[in-house]
Each structure stands twice: as C-alpha cells, then as structure tokens.
C-alpha cells in the first residue's frame, strides 16, 4: 500500500466540481452586491392586478441562482462524506478514510435529526431549535463531538491507533503516511500524520474530545449550581449579604484568569491541599441546591418529602464524599471500598468551576433583582410561601431563558479555559490527548511542521463555534415567545 493522498480517487471528479461551484457562488455574490448598491432594497413587487411578485429582473434571477448554487455546494460536501463509504479502503484518500471511521457518528447524527424533526412540535424549546438554521448548524457541530466522545470513550470505536503508543520512524510524519508492518492499529496509515513523539494525531484528537465533553458541561453545571444557590438569595434579600458576596465575586473576577490558574494549579499548591478544600466547598453546593429544591416543594407533605429526600441526598452524599476523597491528599478518610472513584483532574475541574461561578452569580443576581418585583412573587408572598420556595419555584423557572442561553455559551467558554490550561501545561500530564495540551505540543515546532497543531485547533474551534451558534439559535427562538 502507498501513502494516502488527501482525497484519493474521489477528488478526480469532486475537487474540480467543488472548486467551480464555489467560484460561481463567489462571482454571483460579488455581482449581486455590486448591483444592489445602485438599486432600491425591494424584495416584493406589487403588480397592477393586485398580486405580489418576488423580486424579478437580474437581481431576482441572481437570487435564485445563488440558492441553487448553495444547495449544489452542500450536496457536493455531503458527497465527500457519503461516497467514500461505498469505496474500497484507501481509494478515497485521507478524507474518505476519516469519514469512513466516523460512520457511527454520521448514523447517530442522522437518527437524532430524523427523530427530532419528526417530533419537533412536541419537544418544547429543544424542538424549536430545529426552526432556526443557525441553531441547527450549531447543534450538528456540538452533537458531532458529543457522539465522537461517546463512541471513543464508551465503545473504543473511531480511533485507529493507541493514542499513547509511539511508532519509530513516524516522528512528525506527514498526513496519510504508511505505518510499518507489525505496528498497525486498525488501519495501516496515520491518517493525519504523526506528532513530535510519533503518535497518531487523528487518534489523539478524537480521544481528546472525551476529556472536553466529559469535563466542560459538568464543570459548567457545578458553576451554575454555585452561582444559583448564592445568586438567588443575594438578589432576593439584598443588604449586607449581597454586598459581601458581590464584593467577593468582583474580587475573583478582577484576577486575570491565567494568574489565578498559575496560583491554583501548580504541584506545590496541590501539596498544600487547597484544591481539595475548595472542592469540598464547591461540590457541596449541588447537594444544598437539590436538598432545598426538594424540601421547598414537598415540605407540606413530610412523609413524601422524606421518602424522596433521603435516598436522593444519600446517593448524592456518597458521590460527594467519593469525589472529594482521594488517597494521598489532605482529605482521605473514606475506606477504599467506599471511595467510588478518584477524579484525576480534580485541580483543573475545581479551578474552572471557581473561575466560572462568580459570573453566573452576577447573572443570577441581576435576574433575581429584576424578577422579585413581579406580581407573581408578590402573590406568592401574600400566600405566605417561604423565601426559598419563591426563589426556587417562582423566580428561577422564570429566569430560565437567559440562563439556558448563558449555559451554552459558558460551556464554550469552559472549553476555551480547559484549552488555556492545557496550553500552559497546567494541571494536565504532558501525555494527555486533550486539545489544549496537543496544541501546546504542536506549536513548539509550528514553523517547521504545521500538521500536528492544526487538527486539535480546528477541533476546539468547531466545538466552541457550535456551542456559540447553538446559544444564538436558542436565544432567537426563546425570544419569539
């Protein structure tokens, strides 16, 4: 077998076709913009007989042409994904092999979309997302990485080589290079080449998604729990409590993030146990939040409340203790059998939650300040509801719109923060396949070899872009109500 080219036999027809379509698109766009400068912005024309007509003339024709051209472009891009699936191994080049490896992801994506669009009227805000093009594009990008992470992390599919094993002779090898006999993984090529330690870049990028997809949403949820639990009373009660908390939040926000990371995520600080104490503090908030949430809902029916709250808090408490308990650190009191898991990246997790929580606090506080003057809050107060019931069951549900949008944006920002940590080599081992670390490894030789740094950079970019587009789509759709 030979080294793979980028598009193989597939490119003979598709590459020129794509180039021509894209060029035509560009020409039409330029001509149209030029023509529109001199003409009125008319989209509909009324005819003398009282009917309406779409924009006619040259501009109208160009409009129609542009729509057809864009569809042709989309169809060609889809062909790059679909056609290689039926071609023999190696004949469709690197791109073809990558789409073939990603087959489970494509199937899952198509299934998700088919089901969601079929039932979108019954799915609430999620269903409405499929009315907005921007939102859908964002959703595709996000779900692509979610499925990649799921298939890599759970089923060990997609990756072609072990992401840690080094193959001699493939140091900084170019994309599509042949792997010597005897060291082959699933396929006999390094699809995206080898990195500075002769490891398969494609497998590393795919494996890196597991880290981000597992940590970023979870850390964001924790930050939200902290922010909501503190922000609601700060906004609702105001006064000294609010002043103190706001001052603390502004204090954390005045730190440059990178300085804070350098101060919190060094082996010396880990040795002192500060991250463990911070974890014990921050991880308690979800417990408090869920406990208060259940209690305020069912406190009039003590029997039912106890039946719900005890098992829930029992399980969560155990999870909490296992999360903060790790052998060899300052918090190490659980017997080994009771310690369900150790979080190897606890420091990273804690510092990311710590950086995000004050911003969430400020948002929740602001929303609460606004919502507490509403009539339904006054009504609840008149009914004699408790303060926490009003905060959690009257104010919070009404603040959900902006909070959901911010949640999406914040996952993206957390992804960026995780990448920043990796980029400065903080808290993560240098072998870790996460994108920040791989970008950092790749950038050192960037002026000589560009192929190790670009794939993780593009992966990170596409995920964050997807989350931002998703947030934009959600905002648009939630404003329509």
């Amino acid at each position: 077998m030979d080294p793979l080219t980028w598009t193989g036999g597939l490119g003979a027809f598709l590459n020129p076709a794509l180039a021509i379509t894209a060029a035509l698109c560009g020409i039409v766009l330029v001509v149209q913009t030029g023509l529109r400068m001199g003409s009125a912005a008319v989209t509909l024309q009324s005819n003398p007989d009282g009917t309406l007509q779409g924009r006619g003339g040259v501009l109208g024709a160009l409009d129609t042409a542009l729509i057809y051209l864009v569809w042709a472009l989309v169809a060609l891009l889809l062909a790059y994904i679909v056609v290689p699936l039926v071609m023999p191994y190696g004949s469709a080049g690197i791109l073809g092999e990558i789409t073939r490896r990603l087959l489970p992801v494509w199937i899952a994506l198509v299934a998700t979309f088919a089901l969601s669009i079929r039932f979108k009227r019954r799915l609430g805000l999620y269903g409405k997302l499929f009315d907005s093009t921007v939102g859908m594009i964002g959703f595709v990008l996000v779900m692509f990485w979610v499925y990649v992470a799921a298939f890599v992390g759970v089923f060990d599919m997609i990756v072609t080589h072990d992401y840690l094993s080094q193959v001699s002779g493939l140091k900084n090898a170019l994309p599509g290079v042949m792997v010597p006999d005897g060291t082959q993984g699933v396929i006999p090529h390094y699809l995206l080449g080898g990195d500075n330690l002769a490891r398969d870049i494609f497998s590393r990028v795919m494996a890196g998604s597991v880290f981000v997809i597992a940590i970023a949403p979870l850390a964001t949820i924790f930050a939200f729990m902290v922010g909501i639990t503190l922000g609601l009373p700060a906004g609702y009660y105001g006064g000294k409590f609010d002043t103190a908390l706001s001052f603390a939040a502004n204090l954390i926000l005045a730190f440059p993030v990178i300085l804070l990371f350098y101060l919190l995520v060094t082996p010396e600080i880990v040795q002192t146990g500060i991250p463990s104490y911070m974890a014990a503090f921050l991880f308690a908030f979800p417990l408090i939040f869920i406990g208060v949430l259940i209690n305020t809902r069912y406190y009039t029916q003590p029997a039912k409340r106890n039946a719900i709250i005890l098992p829930v808090l029992g399980i969560l408490g155990w999870l909490y203790l296992s999360a903060i308990n790790a052998s060899g650190t300052v918090i190490d009191f659980l017997p080994a059998w009771a310690d369900l898991f150790d979080i190897s990246v606890l420091v990273v997790f804690v510092s990311v939650v710590f950086v995000n929580a004050p911003t969430v606090f400020r948002i929740v506080r602001g929303l609460t300040l606004d919502l507490r003057t509403r009539d339904y809050v006054a009504a609840a107060q008149t009914r004699g509801e408790g303060a926490w019931y009003i905060m959690l069951w009257e104010i919070l549900p009404n603040a959900r719109g902006p909070l959901i949008v911010d949640f999406c944006l914040r996952i993206g920002y957390t992804t960026i923060l995780l990448g920043t940590l990796g980029f400065f080599g903080l808290g993560l081992s240098s072998e870790s396949p996460d994108w920040g670390t791989t970008i950092n490894e790749g950038r050192k030789l960037l002026l000589i070899y560009i192929h190790p740094a670009l794939p993780p950079a593009m992966a990170l970019l596409s995920l964050v872009l997807g989350l931002n587009l998703l947030a934009d789509g959600l905002r648009e759709e939630s404003l329509k109500d």
Binding site: A254, E268, I269, I439, L446, L447, I450, M458, L465
Partner: protein, 348 residues
C-alpha cells in the same frame, strides 16, 4: 458624582489590598517557599538548609508581618543570619544596614526584587509594560474601529443578508480563542505550506523594531477575539436604536438612510459599546499573556508567565497590582463614561 468616584476609589483600594493579600498568601505557602529556596540555592538542598535559607531571608516571619513589610506599613526586617551575616530587607545590593531606610514597601515606591531576573521588580515591570503598551495600542487601533464598523453595518438593517453574514463572522471570532487563531495564522501566513508566507511567525524582533511584517499577526490575533464580542454588542444596541421613534420620524420626514444612520442613530448606538470596550480590558489581558507566549514577545504577559511559573513572589505581586489596577480603573472609567455619555442616567 464626586462622592460616587470617592466611594469607587475606596472599593478599588480595598479590592487591591484583598487581592494582593491572596496572592501574597498563596505564593508564601510553605511548598512554594521551599521551591523558591531550591531554585535560588540548589535543587539538592536538605530540609535544614532550606529552613536556614528561608529564615535568613525573612521568609519565615508570620504572614501578616511579611505582608506589612512588603506593603511598607511595617519596618523592614533586620535579621542576624545563622551564618553571622546581618541581612535587612531595605539594604539590598550591598548597602550598609545602618544607612538603609526603615520602611521599604510598595508605599515607598519599592517594588521589591525579582528572584528570576535578578533585578529590581519595578524597573522590569516598567519596561515590560512599555512593550505591551505598544502591542495594546495597535490592538485597540485595529479592534475598536473594526468592531464598531461591523456592528453598525450589521445592526442598521436587522435581518438582512449583510446582518446575517456579519453576525456569523462575529460569532466565529468570539469562538476562536487566541491560541487557536494564533496557531492557524502562523501556520497559514508564517510558513511556506500554503504559499502565503507574508508575515513572521514570531514577534521577538518586534520588541526593538516593530514593523508590519513581524507585528501584524500578534496584533490581529488579540484583536480578533475581542472584536466579535464588541461587534455583537454594537449590533444589539444599533438594532435597538433603529427601532426607536425618532428614527421612524426621521424616515417619515424623508431623511436619506445614510443620514439617519450617521446623524441620528450612530451616537446613541455607541453608548453601550463604550462600556463593553472598557470591560474588555481584563479579557485582553488574558489574550496578551497567550499571544506573548505564542509569539515569544517578551512583554507584560510573558513576564507574568515567567514570574508565576518560577514563584517569583515580589515580581508576581507587582504584576498583580498592575493588572488589578488596569481592571478596576477601566471599570471606573466605564461607569463614569456611561454617565457622561447618557444624560438619562444620574448618580446621586
């Protein structure tokens, strides 16, 4: 207004004190001091030697005392070392202890001594800040007009194709952190792979002699990340203004569209972005750290990384003071500016 500014200044000072105390506490934790002693002496120092070194140099005093000395409200230490030598905080560089000042902290203008660069921390920060100032000047020059133009163009016709494409561009730019865009720019424009080697991939030469070739990529990298956010805020404020009554009146009077945008809408639409631009400074500071590391431009951000990774206590404290000052001052300016720009807001 005056009492408002005074109160804000008071909060600023309090914040700066709290912040520097936190940094001081974290950098003075024992494992950090141990690392410092070993980098200053040698890496195979015994535990006793570490303690002796720390004791002789005043690191083992109680934390509030050390903080007070650094701040300049307590007299600097004079310690008779175990080796028989007298050391005083205020008598650095072979000065006679009898002649040395009693107080030498930040209040007396003494920024301390950098253990990494073996130089006065104040002068290091001043030089590095100058270099970063040069970078920031060009970033602002590129970012602010670019963002405002994009935002105004997108916001003046909400929902048009220009709006949608420009909004997508600004989302794309906010979704691209500096370490991604920087890597992509270096790969595309700094190497010969794509046949577009128009710029230099490092900015080290730009410290002395900045020109378009070696300085454009770092400036662009920082500017892009902030540009999208400001552009989106400008767009939001512009679309809001464009639906206002006085714009409709102007339209009905028959004022030309370009006149409506330039004379009636623009000034009102620029109030909100002003605040946003000022509040972008803390984020720009992050960008500066990443970009200076990536392009090897030895400015303020690069110094922060060096000081933090080597636990250079006094330099790190100096760096924190400067960055906190920048963050809080920009917040203050943004609040005051908002009041000046928007006559509907009054602060008692």
């Amino acid at each position: 207004m005056v009492s408002f500014i005074l109160r804000r200044l008071g909060i600023m000072v309090l914040t700066a004190l709290c912040l520097t105390f936190i940094v001081f506490w974290l950098t003075n934790l024992f494992p950090n001091l141990e690392k410092l002693a070993k980098t200053q002496g040698n890496f195979r120092m015994s535990d006793e030697a570490v303690l002796t070194y720390l004791g002789n140099n005043g690191y083992l005093q109680p934390l509030p005392v050390k903080y007070g000395q650094w701040l300049g409200v307590l007299p600097g230490y004079v310690i008779a070392g175990t080796d028989g030598e007298m050391r005083a905080r205020c008598a650095a560089g072979g000065q006679d202890i009898a002649d040395a000042a009693r107080f030498c902290g930040i209040l007396q203008g003494n920024w301390g001594y950098s253990t990494v660069f073996r130089d006065d921390a104040g002068s290091i920060i001043a030089t590095r800040l100058g270099l970063t100032g040069k970078l920031m000047f060009w970033v602002m020059l590129l970012m602010v007009p670019g963002a405002l133009i994009i935002g105004v163009m997108a916001g003046m016709n909400e929902g048009s194709r220009t709006d949608r494409s420009l909004s997508t561009v600004s989302i794309l730019s906010t979704a691209t952190p500096e370490y991604v865009s920087g890597v992509v720019f270096i790969a595309v424009f700094g190497t010969a792979t794509f046949g577009m080697q128009w710029f230099k991939g490092t900015a080290t030469a730009a410290m002395d002699d900045a020109n378009f070739e070696n300085f454009f990529l770092p400036v662009l990298t920082i500017a892009l990340y902030g540009m999208g956010y400001i552009a989106r805020m400008t767009r939001a404020s512009m679309t809001e203004v464009m639906t206002a009554q006085y714009i409709r009146t102007a339209r009905l009077k028959g004022v030309a569209f370009s006149q409506i945008v330039l004379r009636h809408a623009l000034r009102n639409a620029l109030i909100a972005p002003f605040t946003v631009i000022m509040l972008q400074f803390p984020f720009l500071l992050n960008g500066v750290v990443i970009v200076e590391t990536l392009f090897n431009y030895k400015g303020f951000g690069w110094t922060l990384v060096q000081a933090a990774s080597n636990n250079d206590i006094e330099l790190l404290l100096g760096v924190s003071i400067v960055s906190v000052f920048v963050v809080l001052t920009t917040q203050l300016i943004s609040d005051i500016g908002y009041v000046f720009l928007n006559p509907r807001i009054r602060i008692a």
